[in-house]
């Protein structure tokens, strides 16, 4: 493309801009999406809905809607929804960045084929994660839309920012998981990640109950987990209980994790594909 050479500047010959690198993979990911979106509908939209009905409505019916004990929520459903969506974002991020990454390295060797072209390792990471972020964003958006009629949102603008927070926490997890998967030699490591990572985080990062219930020490442990920052943001925006200094810390932590995760992923994949 003519633009490749005119935009070269100080960069080595032929190096693509981040945008070009991703744009060139658009058709690939579009084809992947066309093939897989149906399966995604079940796991992205139906599963969380089951959770909301079972935990939020049916189980939540036994729980008093005391705002003082539910971080400002007037019902358990309103309390659990923002946390569930954030946890759901994490789950999509992790599942889309585990086996598919290993497959592209070990089984299908997609990354090797792509690297024989002008694309570089960072372009592969960018496009892959962009696709995962798209999946997270669309799944969370539909989830939030479905929940709107349940009267769980306290303002009209809050859910939009909550959605951004959910996408942000998902992105952080996608990048962290990508880096882990790129280094993993065998898929057994994923079992460890799901059992000792995803499951405890889902259960204990404040999605299902206020972290204050954990006691002073464990509460702080929970507040250090990446998911808690996402749950905290998502809930504050949904319930219109935003504590701006806390929100700022949440955002800074998640953005920092994204940056770290990106470098960790690019380095890991670069080393892995160097043979």
């Amino acid at each position: 493309m003519a633009t490749d050479t005119t935009q070269r500047g100080a960069r080595p010959a032929g190096t693509l801009t981040a945008w070009q690198g991703m744009a060139r993979q658009y058709d690939y990911w579009l084809t992947v999406y066309k093939r897989t979106w149906r399966g995604g509908v079940i796991s992205s939209f139906l599963t969380p809905l089951f959770y909301v009905v079972a935990m939020g409505v049916l189980l939540g019916g036994f729980i008093d809607g005391d705002p003082a004990r539910l971080e400002g929520a007037t019902s358990y459903l309103a309390f659990i929804v923002p946390g569930l969506v954030a946890a759901h974002a994490m789950q999509i991020a992790v599942s889309e960045s585990t086996y598919p990454v290993m497959g592209a390295i070990k089984w299908h060797k997609t990354f090797f084929a792509q690297l024989a072209t002008p694309l570089a390792v960072r372009d592969l990471v960018n496009a892959f994660v962009a696709f995962v972020v798209f999946r997270i964003a669309s799944a969370c958006a539909v989830f939030m839309l479905v929940l709107a009629p349940f009267g769980v949102f306290e303002s009209w603008w809050g859910p939009f920012l909550a959605w951004v927070a959910q996408v942000l926490v998902g992105t952080a997890f996608a990048l962290l998981t990508f880096g882990y998967s790129a280094r993993l030699k065998s898929e057994e490591g994923f079992g460890v990640l799901f059992r000792l990572g995803v499951l405890p985080l889902t259960l204990f990062s404040g999605a299902f109950f206020p972290v204050a219930n954990l006691g002073p020490v464990l509460e702080w442990v929970a507040r250090l987990t990446p998911l808690w920052h996402g749950v905290s943001l998502s809930r504050m925006f949904c319930l219109d209980t935003v504590d701006w200094p806390v929100a700022a810390v949440n955002v800074v932590v998640l953005v920092a994790l994204c940056v770290l995760g990106w470098f960790w992923s690019v380095r890991g994949l670069d080393k892995r594909l160097e043979v």
């Binding site: 490749d4 080595p12 032929g14 992947v32 084929a113 792509q114 024989a116 072209t117 002008p118």
Partner: protein, 304 residues
Amino acid sequence: MISARGLRKSFGDFEAVKGIDVEVRKGEAFGFLGPNGAGKSSTMRMIASVSPVSGGELRILGMDPATDGPAIRGRLGVCPQEDTLDNELNVFDNLYIYGRYFGIDRATCRERARELLEFAQITEKAKAKVEDLSGGMKRRLTIARSLINNPDVLLLDEPTTGLDPQARHVLWDQLFRLKQAGVTLVITTHYMDEAEQLCDRLVVMDKGLIAAEGSPRELIDAHSTREVAELRFGVGEHEGLAEKVADLGERVEVLPDRLLVYSDHGEEVLTAVLDRGLSPIATLVRRSTLEDVFLRLTGRSLAD
């Protein structure tokens, strides 16, 4: 097109390529011949600008892969040893999507993909899944894919390994046509017949070093006799019988299953062997091949 000086590649303590000099000229078919583990694939990956050079100098199309990797890769076609086709895409999409990685616009990509399907003789399989193709078709698709960007240099790593003889000949025919169209070919192979058929010039690699360089004919003339008489005796007899025929040729090689007597006149060797009262189970007189060159240079056969 490609020039290497003292090129090295090491993985930790292991040195796969131990300093080689190579010069590939425009329009020629250049081969790396050697057994598995000779360092051919490591060399190819460095040329493909995906594997960093550990030492020495490498220039591809006048550029340095360390800094100009994307620009170099944009002008290369790579047909890797293992198929890296996307099994989840159909045949046409494998070509189309690959073309997009090079920044080729969509309409041109479609047109190129159709032309290449024609070239690879798999047009009727355009909508088929990759996994439904035969081994030969997959290889042809891989080669077609590597041509999507009209490369200046086509790198082929063991292009016919694992194919049946008929599929190999179809593939060779296609590589011939590319060569005639002016594409520079760089081929690694451990098949001597492939090297003889396809390569204008080649280097024989062994243990990370270049053992000899030249055209197939030059190499055979320089390192072997015109003909070879192959004598097969009973199991375990070859070692003992070698000295009885040693004076009949310029050189005798003892293989586990036969003796090779190198001479410009193979039939005369056979007559002399029978005159001496020796009775081989089977005999064959043939022209020298690159296999003989390799045996001479390394003391081992290519299959080792």
